[in-house]
């Protein structure tokens, strides 16, 4: 009996060790396979999106073109870091990530290259893509003011700049400045109003905060309804997500706040994109551009944007009914690359004024 146990355990250990080595060697085999198929119809995509509807969309693409899409999902910052680490060995042809600030960082690190395509130029407006065509916005979100329907008359709201008005003292809810959405918002204000004014603005918002920044965008809307403050700065799609939450209480929260698009009569509402870029060392460049064109096309855009309750980047595609119910709005008229260019300045200002 004992001997059996011993034999079994030794056998187990051996088997496991073999398994580990087998694991490594099958990886090797896969790699050669990949290299061979790379000349065939394949495109490799690194993405931060994780929606089931995306999979269906990519299947459609494969059916139409015969090009297989390999998807690798991950957190945006990690994907960029990974791409950087892999250098010219990377298997990725395309990178999809949220926020122009991040796309700019990928460009700055020399991870992307210019994609020349008339289709893309036609489908994606100029301000939603990189000046050198290294990335293209696919979906658009606004960073808006959400207010308590009980306590705030939307007539009182006007611009981002007005948020530092003393009437909002201890009324504003917003998340931490370590979040890229806030960094990009401030970057846009740096672009529009200049660095000094932007710093004054950040300082003023900190002064008017109802509490120290904590939680994510949804938590800010919840805090409005809970009465901790009257206004929250948040991205539009979170309202969509909350309205469709599996928690009925969250749905109630979303129903009790109003959406306001700031700065309509001045510089316009701050928008940002989730976008796609062709990697510097893409091995399947042609296939990759085909996929980019497909995702910017009218038939893909609707589904792609609606999966995350966002606005389509392609102007000929209508947004969903929910988004239409909030009304049309004027957007900031700056090239989104500026968000990336001003990012470092924005982060510095946040740290200097003590926006946690």
């Amino acid at each position: 009996m004992r001997r059996n146990v011993r034999n079994i355990s030794i056998g187990l250990v051996l088997a496991l060790t073999l398994l580990v080595f087998a694991g490594c060697s099958t990886n090797e085999v896969n790699k050669t396979d990949d290299l061979e198929t790379e000349k065939k119809k394949v495109v490799n995509l690194y993405t931060n999106r994780h929606y089931d509807t995306d999979e269906k969309l990519l299947e459609t693409f494969t059916e139409e073109t015969g090009i297989k899409v390999n998807v690798v999902k991950g957190n945006s910052d990690e994907l960029i870091e990974r791409l950087d680490r892999e250098g010219k060995d990377t298997k990725a042809d395309l990178l999809i990530t949220a926020d122009a600030g991040r796309l700019y960082r990928a460009k700055e690190k020399d991870l992307l290259q210019s994609a020349k395509s008339e289709v893309l130029d036609k489908n994606i407006p100029e301000n939603l893509r990189d000046q050198d065509n290294e990335w293209f916005g696919l979906t658009v979100r606004g960073r808006v003011i959400v207010y308590s329907k009980d306590r705030v008359d939307p007539e009182e709201l006007s611009t981002y700049e007005d948020l530092i008005n003393s009437k909002w003292n201890k009324k504003i809810l917003v998340r931490s400045s370590s979040n890229i959405y806030n960094q990009s918002l401030l970057a846009s204000l740096i672009e529009i109003n200049g660095e000094e004014k932007a710093k004054e603005w950040a300082k003023g918002v900190v002064k008017n905060m109802a509490r120290d920044p904590k939680g994510n965008d949804r938590a800010q809307a919840t805090a409005v309804v809970a009465g901790e403050g009257d206004l929250a700065i948040m991205n539009t799609y979170y309202i969509g997500k909350m309205l469709n939450s599996s928690n009925p209480e969250e749905v109630k929260v979303a129903e009790n706040v109003g959406v306001f698009f700031p700065s309509q009569n001045t510089s316009g509402t701050h928008i940002n994109v989730s976008g796609i870029g062709l990697t510097k060392h893409a091995k399947n460049k042609d296939n990759a551009i085909k996929l980019m064109e497909f995702l910017s096309s009218e038939k893909a855009q609707k589904q792609f944007a609606e999966a995350n309750y966002e606005y389509p980047a392609n102007p000929s595609v209508e947004p969903s009914e929910l988004l239409k119910s909030w009304g049309e709005f004027e957007t900031q008229n700056i090239n989104l690359s500026k968000l990336g260019e001003n990012n470092k300045k924005a982060v510095k200002i946040f740290n200097e004024v003590g926006w946690k």
Binding site: R2, R6, I10, L12, V13, L16, L19, V20, G23, C24, N27, E28, K31, T32, L35, Y46, V72, K73, G74, N75, D77, E78, I80, E81, R82, D84, R85, E86, G87, D89, K91, R105, K109, R175, S176, S178, I180, P213, K214, G215, N216, R218, A219, T222, A223, V225, A226, G227, E228, K241, S246, N247, E249, E250, K252, V253, K348, N351, E352, K356
Partner: protein, 547 residues
């Protein structure tokens, strides 16, 4: 001639393997130390001017208060359980270990989901009694909340170690105190606390190391500490040099704590002073006192285990239809198989080094033995930087080998594979496996080994035929501990996993950070269930040994 014989007797399979393992553990850490003296860049100056102070204050606040509260809860519970008898004592004896089955990051988002505005408690008060509570009292996403979470899920470290010390060591002292007319409180303050100081400090330093290692809780609550700062500078700022600098400061902090631990323990080592174990005769608490003891234990058990588990079960019932599919099965298989492979490797390495060390027992072996413990004191964020730099370096050096095997081979082979993650697990958790195997060998002693050698068997043969069988319980308990720790591990897995490789813990954390708390519940529950089962077996195995 004698010299050659010396060398021959010193070089064998065990010594060579031990040396290789030790070198592999040390090398990645060198990377960090070498980088400390790199010139600082602009980012670093900015961090130093505006952020560093917060990181230091927050990290210190967290470890100080968590330390104090875990000492209070852990010691008082172990005192109650070991010297008194009251209703359900036998259940609480092991039930109070269970909070350890819930990783703090899971506890964190469960409590937030429970207490926030849209959570069960507030919705209930609002919808049925129309009571609007002040959010201030229900907000766990703060530094106070983090201290609460760490305390309630980590106190069992203090409890377990102090309890086993009290049960084994203190009976005569406690009885003397009783005979000499001290009441319970006096006995506790003047006798129990001083004699179990070593055990308490041992437990609390484990708690502190866990707090410094944590990434999940502080990230979710948005508290800037060293571990979140390292991730942020590395990934968001893309500045690995500054990240390394932060890592080195954190290492420095850990070293101070370890030295402090040594100093505070003083000469009172936590070890057997006598081989004769007389169990304490427990005092029966009757009536009100008994109820009070029961209530205290039940309160801690509820907050630390029952309530969060019930909440997770509730959420699971809401979401299982969307979550349980074939992809989820793959998640479980991933988690279990990587935990299994890594645990087996850790146990094998631990056996090799421990066996070598006990047979040699010289200066070198003492260094080996200390080195195995290094990984556990280094926070995951630091290990991951060291391991990545190390593997990229290896890949660069081995490129020509890869090319020989496969002409088209990519350059980064090991550093994009799962081997890197397994390696990091080994570095971090070897200490746990090593500790239990070392204590196993200690109990057995060298007599049987020597007898077997005298009878003509080799070291390896002796190990297989004699030692292995005798330390089997130690191997089993070491394996269980390591297995559970790997299953729960978050920061290393989050950074070092290959793409498209998810485990239960990374998936739960991703859902939670994506603000899909209900969806995170099933993965969390499975981790908890497996941990509970393992803890139960571990507890049973420990009890058997004692008898």
């Amino acid at each position: 001639m004698i010299k050659v014989r010396d060398i021959k007797s010193n070089i064998n399979l065990w010594s060579i393997l031990s040396l290789i393992f030790i070198i592999l553990i040390v090398l990645p850490n060198l990377n960090i130390f070498i980088n400390i003296f790199n010139e600082s860049n602009q980012n670093w100056n900015h961090i130093k001017e505006y952020l560093l102070k917060d990181y230091i204050i927050n990290s210190l606040t967290l470890i100080m208060f968590t330390g104090l509260f875990t000492i209070f809860i852990g010691t008082s519970l172990s005192w109650l359980i070991s010297v008194y008898d009251f209703p359900f004592r036998n259940f609480f004896k092991w039930g109070l270990i269970l909070p350890l089955a819930i990783p703090p990051y899971i506890g964190a988002y469960t409590y937030n989901g429970l207490l926030n505005y849209t959570g069960v408690i507030q919705s209930f008060l609002r919808n049925f009694y129309n009571i609007q509570v002040n959010q201030k009292y229900f907000n766990v996403m703060s530094i106070k909340g983090a201290i609460f979470i760490f305390t309630i899920f980590l106190f069992p470290y203090v409890y377990i170690i102090t309890k086993s010390y009290l049960e084994k060591q203190s009976s005569s002292l406690i009885e003397n105190a009783r005979v000499l007319g001290r009441n319970s409180m006096e006995t506790f303050v003047y006798v129990v606390l001083p004699i179990s100081r070593g055990a308490i400090i041992g437990g609390v330093s484990l708690v502190i190391l866990e707090v410094l290692n944590d990434y999940g809780v502080v990230k979710y609550f948005g508290i800037p500490t060293f571990s979140t700062a390292i991730f942020k500078t590395w990934f968001s700022m893309g500045d690995i040099d500054s990240a390394v600098k932060l890592a080195s400061i954190l290492m420095f902090l850990v070293f101070i704590i370890l030295i402090l631990e040594k100093f505070l323990r003083g000469r009172k080592k936590y070890s057997y002073t006598t081989s004769k174990i007389t169990p304490i005769s427990r005092k029966r608490l009757k009536g009100f006192k008994g109820k009070l003891a029961f209530s205290f234990c039940f309160l801690i058990f509820s907050i630390g285990f029952l309530i969060p588990t019930l909440q997770l079960i509730h959420w699971s019932l809401l979401t299982y239809k969307d979550i349980l599919n074939i992809r989820f099965v793959k998640l479980i298989v991933n988690s279990l198989s990587i935990a299994l492979i890594s645990s087996v490797l850790i146990i094998i390495i631990a056996i090799v080094i421990a066996n070598y060390c006990r047979l040699k027992n010289n200066f070198l072996s003492k260094i080996y033995s200390k080195t195995t413990l290094v990984g556990y004191s280094i926070p995951g964020a630091v290990i991951s930087i060291g391991v990545i730099l190390f593997f990229i370096n290896i890949d660069n050096r081995l490129y020509w080998v890869y090319k020989m095997i496969n002409k088209n081979s990519a350059k980064l082979v090991l550093s994009t594979s799962i081997i890197m993650l397994i390696f990091a697990y080994i570095m971090r958790f070897l200490a746990i496996g090593y500790n239990s195997i070392e204590s196993g060998f200690e109990k057995v002693g060298n007599k049987f080994f020597e007898a077997s050698r005298t009878l003509g068997m080799g070291i390896t043969e002796t190990f297989i035929k004699v030692d292995f069988k005798m330390i089997k319980p130690a191997i089993l308990s070491g394996f269980i501990l390591v297995f559970v720790d790997i299953l729960k591990e978050l920061p290393l897995t989050l950074i070092l996993r290959p793409f498209n490789f998810n485990t239960l813990s990374t998936k739960a954390f991703e859902y939670a950070s994506d603000e899909m708390i209900q969806e995170a519940s099933i993965a969390s529950l499975i981790i908890i269930i497996i941990s509970v089962i393992s803890i139960y077996f571990f507890y049973k195995a420990g009890n058997k040994e004692e008898v």
